[in-house]
Symmetry: C2
Subunit: 163 residues, 2 copies
């Protein structure tokens, strides 16, 4: 699996493909893709940076007052539950999934400076851990694999994180 997100790329393709995949998956699985759900997904999809719930609220309410917190959390919950977005524990924030529809145990490379997150896969990484868990009679249900560091872009001009 390749690591995307740090390199320069045609981000418009990420947006187009993401929305396409979201729509298709919902249609095929009888999930209701309401305007607000799609709006929250589009906000996540607008960059590869992790976005907090309150930033989403702020962007939703670009005109008029911001909607109250449960609005963001509800739609984020829908997205995360169905695998359309991932929660980044280390940042208390969220990103759009780049592999909608594919069953996967993601791993994330997170830039501590710009909050850009690259999604990759933890499968291979977790083999040894699965082994140890089964030795301990522990039944794995899900995993959080988050690697922190600094991305090539930020390493170039390491200074204040201007966000």
């Amino acid at each position: 699996m390749t690591v995307t997100g740090f390199q320069h790329h045609d981000h418009q393709a990420c947006v187009t493909d993401g929305l396409e995949a979201l729509g298709r998956f919902c249609r095929q699985n009888g999930l209701r893709l309401t305007p607000l759900r799609q709006a929250v997904f589009q906000i996540l999809l607008s960059s590869h940076r992790a976005v907090g719930a309150y930033e989403i609220l702020h962007r939703l309410g670009a005109r008029g007052l911001s909607p109250p917190p449960p609005v963001a959390y509800r739609h984020l919950d829908f997205l995360v539950t169905n695998g359309f977005a991932h929660r980044i524990e280390k940042l208390n924030a969220f990103i759009a999934c780049m592999h909608i529809g594919a069953a996967h145990d993601p791993a994330f490379l997170i830039c501590r400076n710009c909050r850009t997150v690259s999604e990759t896969d933890s499968d291979a990484s977790m083999l040894a851990l699965h082994h140890r868990a089964s030795d301990a009679d522990f039944q794995i249900e899900s995993s959080v694999v988050e690697v922190l560091g600094i991305c090539p872009e930020c390493r170039g001009h390491e200074q204040g994180n201007a966000y």
Copy 2:
């Protein structure tokens, strides 16, 4: 590396050894082991369950009123910074380190029912990820590896989590 924490064991030995290791490491590295720091560490050490900052405050103030939040966070910060405790991102909580003094990138097995956490090592698991990171020119600084599931004890009588 072995996986401890779920099996029945002589927990008094964990406590004794933990305090011993903490004291020794501080002495050898010129760190001041003040009563409050030791008290917070002892609270963490009292079980292998992850303990939240506010639970620590509550236990610290067993008599009289609870101390204000910064007290807990300051001492936890000291413990985490020096490798005496680990933060469990998934639970916003903390556990005592079981390998004080040994440089390590820990991985955790976390029971979603009883919050018991077993500390093991992510070294081997992370090899593939290191590879991918270096392909992406991403410089790893630290990692969060948290596996969630259910421990043998809780699987036996799976029901409400009485904590």
